[in-house]
Assembly symmetry: C2
């Protein structure tokens, strides 16, 4: 994208309404704009981030055999009356009346709807297990929305739901999803530590939340360093083998990890001192096994191996996709701005033309830009160099390719890595090879 033609409005000043760093930086870098309290529009660069996150989430869900659907944002209140949650849910549910005075609501979650869709389609235990997910906008009418997309009202979430014939099979599904989550967060360039969680209003007996370490996190976290050292992308776990899943699960759940709500100081003291990690964490995912709560309350059965009806065991598994855009910034920034992990960045690199109008600079920038116009933001504005460098740091592109008249004549550019600040002069070919490497 050419910056001179793009809808990428950066701000020099810190917006007064933004209290935390991710909110400030998302506004300043032109990623989002608030359109109503707790409701945001995603501008072109922000939408690219949102889509990059969604795509990684999607690939890891598909990898374990979950199937993507898309449920609507609005739901009939009747569905929620069937499960008994309509009256139980508090004022965070946005309740709506249509022109015929029928009660609708903006979905805050989809257990009821997916259970109903499953029940219409699946009749036999032979068609189990099933995992279905969607990535869709949801609404929770927070009493005091704040922190930008970290606690917005309209937010994008991946929610998955599983249906299994029995408890053992459901536990294997739960472990499969736990692995998918660890891989997802690692691919997003952040470490999220799974912590045993209270199952809360969704109910159920088995639950983990995933927290990204960030100073502005809403919870205190305590965990064994072992949990951030494992490379889950390189670790082959056979997700079809319950035994392999059990071994994997033990490895993840044996080291100590807890939020302050669940903290056990005696167990904590038993962790060797040099392995203790303490900090604040932002919740970005949450997984639950809750058994037959919804299949029973909504009376959804399949015919079992003996021909008698069986209530399938369910779990639900959420990832806050729009929240992650903020959480990643909370975990990855400096005083100058955002430091995007490569996999999430809206552009791989910015091409900074230090002398727009200079024939050599212009030609070299165009040459680089045209090798892959999707990967590059081309800063072709006539602004002074300082402003361009400041915007590049603020927007957080993983690489900056700086094209100045002197080095351009020699076919060279200055390449800066945003995360480390390291700079080196290299040939155009070497710069492209580094920036476009996978």
């Amino acid at each position: 994208m050419r910056l001179s033609r793009s809808f990428l409005p950066t701000l020099k000043e810190n917006p007064a309404e933004a209290q935390i760093v991710s909110h400030r930086l998302m506004l300043r870098a032109g990623l989002i704009r608030q359109t109503a309290s707790g409701i945001y529009a995603w501008l072109p660069a922000g939408l690219k981030v949102l889509r990059n996150i969604s795509q990684i989430v999607r690939e890891e869900q598909d990898r374990i055999g979950a199937q993507e659907v898309l449920m609507p944002t609005l739901q009939s209140a009747d569905l929620w009356k069937r499960s008994g949650r309509y009256d139980a849910y508090g004022p965070e549910m946005l309740r709506i009346q249509d022109r015929h005075k029928r009660e609708l609501l903006y979905g805050p979650t989809n257990e009821e709807m997916i259970t109903d869709l499953f029940g219409q389609a699946v009749k036999s235990y032979k068609d189990l297990p099933q995992m279905l997910y969607h990535i869709q906008w949801k609404f929770r009418d927070e009493v005091r929305p704040r922190f930008g997309v970290m606690r917005g009202r309209e937010f994008l979430m991946k929610d998955a739901y599983s249906f299994d014939l029995d408890y053992d099979s459901a536990v294997a599904t739960y472990r499969r999803m736990l692995l998918a989550y660890l891989r997802t967060f690692q691919r997003l360039g952040v470490r999220a530590v799974p912590m045993r969680a209270d199952t809360g209003p969704i109910g159920g007996e088995l639950s983990h939340e995933f927290l990204i370490l960030a100073p502005t996190g809403e919870s205190g976290v305590f965990y064994d360093a072992a949990l951030e050292e494992q490379d889950w992308l390189d670790e082959p776990v056979n997700v079809g083998d319950p035994k392999a899943l059990e071994v994997f699960y033990k490895r993840v759940t044996t080291p100590y990890a807890a939020t302050d709500e669940m903290h056990d100081t005696a167990a904590w003291d038993a962790v060797p001192e040099d392995r203790r990690r303490e900090g604040r964490g932002v919740e970005v995912g949450h997984i639950f096994h809750f058994g037959t709560k919804y299949t029973q309350s909504m009376d959804v059965t399949v015919s079992g191996p003996e021909g008698t009806p069986v209530y399938p065991e369910m779990g639900s598994y959420g990832i806050g996709v729009s929240r992650l855009a903020g959480a990643i910034i909370e975990a990855s920034h400096d005083d100058a701005g955002i430091i995007w992990p490569d996999a999430v960045a809206p552009f791989r690199a910015v091409i900074i033309n230090l002398k727009v109008g200079d024939e050599t600079c212009d030609a070299m920038c165009e040459q680089i830009y045209n090798t892959n116009i999707e990967a590059f933001l081309y800063d072709d504005r006539t602004d002074r160099a300082g402003a361009k460098f400041a915007d590049a740091d603020l927007m957080g592109h993983p690489w900056q390719i700086v094209v100045g008249p002197r080095s351009a004549k020699e076919g060279r550019v200055e390449l800066k890595r945003r995360a480390t600040g390291e700079r080196k002069e290299v040939s155009v070919e070497d710069a492209l090879a580094l920036v476009l490497a996978d």
Copy 2:
């Protein structure tokens, strides 16, 4: 996707509630399920169709320099009060109160919001023209939702908005978009004829709607056959050159084309008889130039070339993405089911295993399936052949690869083209080359 493991519930019977063929076939082929009146969930195969359509729409918008954003589904009523449309809009607008009794609405369209976002970001005529679009769910509270996704309440729409400094530039933008639309529909495998339209409640002076021919269309259409003969994908129009756009525009608008509302029988009689085409049409797109209506009512200006404030000229440009899924089926089906155009089909081909359990058949099916698991639906169910053929025709995959024990032994399959019914026995290699060709 393996059909035995997939969430693809086909129906043998015609659902009673479905009055038109696309609605019947979308339910029967397991693409959608209704979750509330006029509100649908998209099951895995349906979502693939929706995403294929969206991606083609996106690529053609990007091609003419439009930039993608994502505005939220819910809007503040205040925005609509600024433009004066809040009270003017009828009961089709879904009005909502949040927990603080603030008025929200589920966006039926986004002129107000985009004008506000534009005004916050763009200050100078030098940053014009701008084209912004998004693909987002919208809501219109139809009094009698029907015809499935063709007249649903929650629907997916691409809406683009343009901002130009003056009328001439706005007209060039309008023509650029007209070309993008012709290319988009052609890539989707349907012919949509542009017809001069009444500008209606959006206002303005220049407007075309795009209609796909289908017997169940809501409007009568009359047009010169010249309009369906042009190949817009092969036709290089320089979209940067206003003169080239003018020549293009004349070619599109000179031949006669009108819906029954705008029909002019005298002009129609002047069309040579062998070139007259009459039928019914489904509206799938609508483009408007409406000038300064919203920039004036919302008082959004940029500083002009002389330093004085100027109200930018606007246009808006819609494509009904979810409606298109139905409209394409209306235009492309037979008694046995859907006939998907290649570019839209959820799968390129179904692999029909005629003898599941037979070693040769199973091995060959797996071999084909594993060459590209995204492209294929593998019918690995133990059902009888007749049921598999019927489902394949119903679901409308462009190709059927039939693997039976006799021909499999010779490394051959039967390949059927859904659109023509043509069948031939070919080698596996030739089948793959044909099916996966672009």
